[in-house]
């Protein structure tokens, strides 16, 4: 996992208080809605923490696309690269 992926996993674990998993063991391709059980309010909370961490804005309309840790990490990296 790259640095962003690990950090996103860590934030999700902390915010959702997930047990028995570490950023290193978190399956980055796990479907966060279907397999972890997060909902829109959880995702909004995570988006705010990510906004703090990376200084990027996550559009509410983009939530449905952010289905895995890997996709979220790629989304962040793309935003950082494009300077949005």
């Amino acid at each position: 996992m790259n640095k962003t992926t690990t950090r996103v996993a860590e934030i999700i674990i902390n915010e959702l208080k997930l047990e028995d998993v570490t950023p290193q063991t978190f399956d980055a391709d796990l479907d966060l809605v279907d397999e972890v059980g997060i909902d829109s309010m959880d995702l909004a909370t995570i988006a705010l923490v990510l906004r703090d961490e990376y200084g990027i804005r996550i559009d509410e309309d983009d939530y449905p696309k952010l289905t895995t840790v890997r996709i979220i990490a790629e989304y962040i990296d793309n935003k950082l690269t494009s300077g949005e």
Binding site: V33, D39, S40, M41, L48, I58, E60, Y63, P64
Partner: protein
């Protein structure tokens, strides 16, 4: 009030002790996932502008089989539903079905006209609809002594919250009703008449009636803080010229094509035949979406827009007050705290 121009981190906003406490308080309820259920197609009164008796759902076959309802609710629980809203036409006429729902999913609310008490063992929040004083209720709802009978039925009942629906003709009666409920130690929250599709009658709000409603709500909230479950931001969100959809983009399936997450994924509105239709699924089906300022709709729609409210401490406080209010109105045992934001915050831009 406009939001400050300074950009805040979320951690800076929630560093304020009062904000942090309320944030931690409300976020414990983020597990709530609602669906709504029409319980019967019968009602013991017939109100002008009733959304239930608009559109097709009123003609659905009524299923009174407890086992069918039990199976449905168990399936709903497996689907992740944690909160039920029992509504149309009049749930108190089928208490046996309400009890089946309560046994399966113990968090929920029942929307009733309050004329027939709902058994105490069904420990849901009870929303009792009020459309004015008894004279007005007789005219619009064709039921005599309505408020008097509602109060008698629910006096001292901690499940009860009276829901006053403002329309252009009953604005100034809200004070009389609030005073009566306050004297009885009862609670009230505010709703806005939201026109059913095609309705062009006198109950539809006008710019003038919205302004007057805002003024009366503000006065009553200030004068009866122990009785009125509302906040200044509730007043803003529900009395603007723009309806809830234009302000916040409705997240119910009827207006939200996404099935990926949130209400678009999980919400269903079951009719009395235990069927549901995604195209009609929202908390008040057959309401004209452009005129929707309904309290139930706002509870979900405004709450879902947390991210855009997390811009500064004032705006986020207003959002927290709204969510604190919604939880107090809908969840048994949840106690509303003092409002943090006493100023009328302008809703954030809607870029969705």
């Amino acid at each position: 009030m406009n939001a400050p121009s300074q950009e805040y981190k979320f951690s800076e906003i929630t560093a304020h002790p009062l904000i942090r406490d309320k944030w931690e308080k409300v976020r414990r309820y983020f597990f709530l996932r609602e669906s709504t259920y029409d319980m019967t197609n019968r009602c013991n009164i017939r109100c002008e502008g009733c959304y239930y008796f608009t559109g097709e759902k009123q003609f659905a076959t009524e299923n009174n089989d407890r086992d069918d309802w039990r199976q449905l609710l168990e399936a709903e629980k497996k689907r992740g539903i944690t909160f039920v809203v029992l509504a149309g036409a009049e749930p108190s006429l089928v208490p046996q079905l309400c009890e089946v729902c309560y046994r399966a999913i113990p968090l929920g609310a029942i929307a009733t006209n309050g004329l027939k008490p709902i058994p105490r063992e069904i420990d849901y929040r009870i929303h009792i609809s009020v459309w004015g004083n008894d004279r007005t209720s007789l005219a619009i709802r064709k039921a005599p002594d309505m408020l008097t009978r509602q109060v008698t039925n629910y006096q001292g009942d901690p499940r009860a919250v009276f829901v006053y629906t403002f329309n252009p003709d009953n604005i100034d009666e809200a004070r009389e009703v609030t005073e009566k409920l306050a004297a009885g130690g009862l609670q009230i929250t505010f709703n806005m008449f939201s026109a059913p599709v095609g309705y062009q009658g006198p109950l539809r709000h006008t710019p003038e009636s919205l302004d007057r409603t805002k003024q009366v709500m503000t006065e009553l909230l200030a004068e009866f803080p122990e009785t009125v479950l509302f906040s200044p931001y509730n007043i803003v969100a529900h009395t603007r010229q723009q309806g809830l959809h234009e302000l916040f983009s409705c997240s119910y399936p009827r207006m939200n094509p996404s099935t990926a997450i949130g209400l678009g994924r999980s919400f269903r509105q079951y009719r009395t035949d235990l069927q549901w239709n995604r195209d009609a699924a929202c908390c008040v089906p057959d309401t004209d979406c452009s005129d929707c300022r309904h309290y139930a709709a706002g509870s979900a729609i405004v709450t879902a827009r947390m991210y855009r409210h997390a811009t500064d401490p004032v705006t986020f406080s207003a959002w927290l007050d709204y969510v604190d209010t919604y939880l107090a109105v809908w969840v048994r045992g949840y106690e509303k705290g003092p409002n943090l934001c006493e100023v009328p915050v302008v809703p954030p831009p809607n870029n969705s």
